[in-house]
Every structure is written in C-alpha cells, then in structure tokens.
C-alpha cells in the first residue's frame, strides 16, 4: 500500500486549539455519549407511554400507538433529522423559528429530539411485547385485589415487563449510540464527525477512522458489560429462561 501511515499524528496539536488530535476525538466521544444518553431518556419515556397505550385495551389508544410507531419507523433517521433541523423551524411562527435556529447547541437539541423520537418507536414495540408476554391472569389478579388500573401497571405489569425486555432494550440503547453518528449531517461534532474533521486536517484517513472505530467498540463493550450486570441483578427467577 502506498499510503503514508503516521500514528504519531494523534499527539500533534489540532487546529481547534483544544489540545491534540486525540483530545479532539475524545471530545467527540463525549458528545456521542451525552447525545446518546439524552436521546435514550426521551426514547424510554415516550416509548413507555406509547407502549402502555397499546396494551390498555382501548381501540383508539391502540390505533394512535400504532400510527405513532409506523410514522417514526418508516422514515429514515437521516430524513427525520433533516425534517427537525431544516423544515420544522420554517413552519413555526417567524420569531419562534428564528429563536430555534439561533440556539447555540441547535444541532445537539435537534439530534436529541430526532434520535429520541426515532428510537421511542422501537422502545414502544418492546414495551408492548414485554407487557403482553406476562400472563393475562396477573392483570386480572391485580384488578381483583382492588388495585386501580394505574396501580396494576405501576406495581404488577411494568416492573416485570421491563425486566423481560432488558436484553432487547440494551441492544436498542447500543443502536442509539450508533445512530448519534447520523447527526454529523446537521453539524453535531460527535465522534464520527471529529474523525472526519481530523482526516480533513491531517489527511490521515485511516488513522482517524480506525481509532474512532476502536473507540466505538470500546464504548460498546463497556455498555454491554454494564447492562449484563444489571440484567443479572434484575432477573426474575423463572421468568426469563437462563437469565
């Protein structure tokens, strides 16, 4: 290969004045993590609400929940981000739109909302599946004991349902981390964006992207181990085969 490898480039100062190129990638990793966690909180909250709505037995709630899921699942994430970033501010009243557009961390807020909503559709499917997986006798037993519907969800269905779906939720969280990279198209300076910027400044294409890839793999391993620990602690004996 007639490519000039230069791994020492990571210790050279980067033009953004914040330190070396390696510091630049680490700063990108931080944005990736922060964006992923904030998006994930939105995804969990909305996904739980929509997921529950689909199990309440109300026909309208089911239809509304299904429509929500289909809407966010059938448009590519990149297009959804463009809608939030380029289209929505134009449809708002002019002053509000201008305020939105001049936010300092506009790309970050947009990414958090866009990715959060996109992932919430996937979380909702899991939540519905988790609740449906429980024996229907549990709901009836709860109601028979005199619990309200809300109490049945709060004390019977959700605690068990969430434990059942912990493994798929882990992989959805890993997807959220990966999806933050799509936000580089709206200018979010996350890990992949930093790797690309580094490649543009130094022309060391492969050093930049390979190191970014290694950081993603490391993050993936850390999250997986952490979630496995939580899964083990949370397992309901007899509910999930093999734990």
């Amino acid at each position: 290969m007639n490519y000039n490898w230069n791994w020492g480039v990571f210790w050279a100062p980067s033009p953004d004045g914040a330190g070396t190129y390696f510091d630049m990638l680490l700063a990108g990793l931080q944005w990736t993590i922060v964006t992923a966690i904030c998006s994930w909180l939105i995804a969990l909250c909305l996904g739980t609400v929509v997921g529950i709505a689909r199990t309440t037995g109300s026909r309208w709630m089911l239809l509304a929940g299904n429509a929500y899921i289909e809407l966010f699942r059938n448009i590519p994430l990149l297009v959804q981000l463009f809608l939030w970033y380029f289209v929505v501010p134009e449809l708002l009243p002019v002053q509000l739109g201008n305020w939105v557009k001049q936010l300092t961390y506009g790309a970050f807020y947009t990414a958090v909302i866009g990715i959060g909503l996109y992932m919430s559709a996937r979380v909702a499917t899991q939540v519905t599946a988790g609740i449906s997986a429980l024996a229907s006798g549990q709901r009836m037993a709860g109601l028979a004991m005199g619990l309200t519907k809300a109490q049945v969800y709060r004390y019977v269905l959700l605690p068990q349902g969430f434990r059942v779906i912990l493994p798929p939720l882990t992989s959805e969280f890993l997807n959220t981390i990966k999806n933050t990279s799509v936000a580089l198209t709206i200018g979010l300076a996350e890990l992949t964006a930093r790797a690309r910027a580094m490649q543009e400044f130094t022309f060391q294409v492969f050093e930049a992207f390979i190191t970014a890839a290694a950081l993603y793999v490391a993050l993936n391993i850390v999250v997986t181990l952490l979630m496995r620990y939580i899964e083990r602690r949370m397992t309901v004996p007899g509910l999930v085969a093999g734990g």
């Binding site: 290969m1 007639n2 490519y3 289909e70 809407l71 699942r73 059938n74 448009i75 590519p76 994430l77 990149l78 297009v79 959804q80 463009f82 809608l83 380029f86 289209v87 134009e90 449809l91 009243p93 890993l174 981390i177 990966k178 999806n179 933050t180 990279s181 799509v182 580089l184 198209t185 992949t192 790797a195 690309r196 294409v205 492969f206 992207f209 390979i210 970014a212 890839a213 993603y216 793999v217 993936n220 391993i221």
Partner: protein
C-alpha cells in the same frame, strides 16, 4: 406558515428524483440484500460449524460490524476499498472503485452481519431431530443443509429478512454523506440549488414513508401466510 411553500420544485424535478435517485436507491437495496443474505448465510453456517478458529473469526466479524455506526463504515470503506483492491490484485496503484460498487460492497459487508444473525436463528429454529433424521436416511452435510435445513430456515425467517431489507432501504439514504446521487442525495441537490429545503425534504420523507409502510404491511400479510403450522 405553509403559505410560502412552493411544491413546483418537486414536480419540476420528478424525473431526476426517480430515474436517477430512486433507481440508485432501489438497485443498491436489491443487490446489497442478495449479497448480504448470501454472505450472511455463509457466516451463520461457519459460526454454527465445528471448524477450528473460523467460528470465532466469524463471530468477531459480526460483533465488530454490529458495534460500528454505518456512517463510519461508509466513510472507511469508500476510502479504503481502492487500497484493498490494489493489495488483492497486486497492482502498483490503488484500483478505482466507483460510487455504486463501493456502496454495494459497503452495504453487503455491513448487512451480512445482521443477516447472519437472522439466518443463525433460522438454522437453530430447525428441530435437531430433523437433522438427525436427515443423516439417518443417508444424506451428507451438504444435502442435509441444502434440502432440509436452509429451505426451512429461509422460510421461517422470510418476514424478518424482508423487515431487515426495509431497514436497509432506509439506511441507503446515508450515502448522502458521500454526495452520491441516491434518492435523498438527488432531493437535497435540487433543494439546495433552488433553496427549497422544506418542500423537498417533506416530499422525500413522504416517499420513504409510503414505500416502507406499504412494504411492511405486505410483510405482515406474508408473515401470516407463510407461518408453518407446528
């Protein structure tokens, strides 16, 4: 609000959007699905085999691909492939690889990791007894795989495979980052030239939605029809 939207920008560029953009998107989706499925099945079979070392290598590949964001892989392979070609062919200069070829290879390699997980589940869904019965009537491994296991695995997994293809169809929009003229790339080029982002991106979202939604409805019906009665 909506009053200053002008959708004539869409109607004026329909042929460019569909004949150039959508053709690229659909071609990439189709070829990468077939390629990813073939490679994925191979990887799944290697992972389930009792060969030395290879199953670990295959597993490592799948885990690596599943840990990386697609955007990063798209960049990396677009820049890396010519050097790989040079190394494979023993040429003295990097080999030119076009945008379509590069995208096909990227998506095939990437999706193969996901398809392999689907096919692995499919193969494992075949009861062990069938395999033993196959051997008992004198089939060898290849016959048993191609006549007993794989056809059923494929059939069981068909809905999941189609769902993955719909995901792939949406993911192809990410080639936007390389300025390739897929459907979204075509839409954004027109949108930026004419300063009509809202109209164009709303239209693009609607097109992606209609196609994906229709396809997933079709898959749900297929799922009901192909389910093997157990």
């Amino acid at each position: 609000m909506f009053s200053n939207l002008d959708f004539s920008v869409v109607s004026n560029s329909l042929s460019y959007l569909f004949f150039e953009g959508m053709t690229f998107t659909l071609m990439l989706t189709a070829i990468a699905t077939v390629g990813g499925l073939l490679l994925g099945t191979l990887i799944a079979m290697i992972r389930l085999s009792s060969l030395p070392v290879l199953p670990q290598v295959a597993a490592a590949y799948v885990n690596l691909m599943r840990a990386l964001p697609l955007v990063l892989v798209i960049f990396l392979i677009y820049f890396l492939l010519p050097y790989v070609g040079q190394w494979v062919m023993g040429a003295s200069r990097p080999i030119a690889v076009g945008a379509l070829t590069s995208s096909i290879i990227t998506f095939t390699l990437f999706e193969a990791a996901y398809f392999s997980e689907i096919m692995r589940a499919g193969i494992q869904s075949i009861p062990r007894g069938q395999v033993e019965a196959g051997y008992a009537i004198g089939l060898n491994y290849r016959q048993m795989m191609s006549y007993v296991v794989l056809p059923q695995a494929l059939r069981n997994m068909l809905p999941v495979i189609f769902m993955q293809t719909i995901v792939l169809f949406q993911d192809t929009s990410l080639v936007y980052v390389l300025s390739i003229t897929d459907f979204l790339g075509a839409a954004s080029k027109v949108a930026q030239r004419d300063g009509r982002l809202p109209e164009m991106y709303m239209f693009a979202a609607a097109v992606y939605f209609i196609i994906s939604f229709t396809a997933s409805r079709f898959v749900q019906r297929l799922q009901a029809r192909t389910a093997i009665v157990r």
